[in-house]
Symmetry: C2
Subunit: 121 residues, 2 copies
């Protein structure tokens, strides 16, 4: 069921390449990649890097009393990644090409989050 939800997230966002549901321990629950040529290992590798980054952002935000981190977006030259923190244990990431639609992606992540949170608990 996670796979189908991730598929919908990726397919409904223009330019999206991959979706990932992952624990802050760096272990992927499920992933979906649009392009069959994309190596499944790649998306997990990306996720593991991001689990460390988002973990440190969460700790920093708490230390600074900025409140819980909710969203992180990282725009690099060739890839844009949007991250939505679901709860203390899991986050949802969506990676897209720079010419994709990040506004739509953020909207889809935000509206999908409650469903995933319910399924994860």
């Amino acid at each position: 069921m996670f796979k189908e939800t991730l598929r919908q997230v990726v397919e409904s966002t223009e330019g999206a390449i991959a979706g990932l549901l992952m624990g802050f321990d760096g272990i992927a629950v499920e992933s979906y990649t649009r392009d069959e040529a994309t190596d499944a290992k790649d998306i997990n590798e990306i996720g593991m890097e991001f689990s460390v980054i988002v973990g440190s952002i969460r700790r920093a935000a708490e230390t600074l009393e900025a409140g819980g981190a909710r969203e992180v977006s990282i725009q690099a030259e060739h890839l844009v990644t949007l991250i939505r923190v679901l709860n203390d244990d899991y986050f949802l990431a969506l990676t897209m090409r720079p010419d994709g639609n990040p506004g739509k992606g953020r909207f889809v992540l935000r509206t999908t989050a409650p469903k995933l949170i319910a399924e994860l608990s």
Copy 2:
């Protein structure tokens, strides 16, 4: 001159609290806070945390061949921080309240970046 540039960045963005020009070594070049009540130490502390985070994001992006990281945005419960990577050594950060205008903030950071890059080199 950096102070005046940071002042313009902060004052022209609705809801913005502070602007920071910092090296990836965590040493601030200059900062500007709108609210006099905000402790100057706070913005430097925020910047030091973010220099570590953005540094790890840059390394991850390079490892993953996502290209150079250009922009990072972190939305927490009480604060939104936008970060623009200027070059290999420096970044520009703008912190705002959640009801601020991040779109305007990103625009201002993007248009201000070339000026700061020129002044830093």
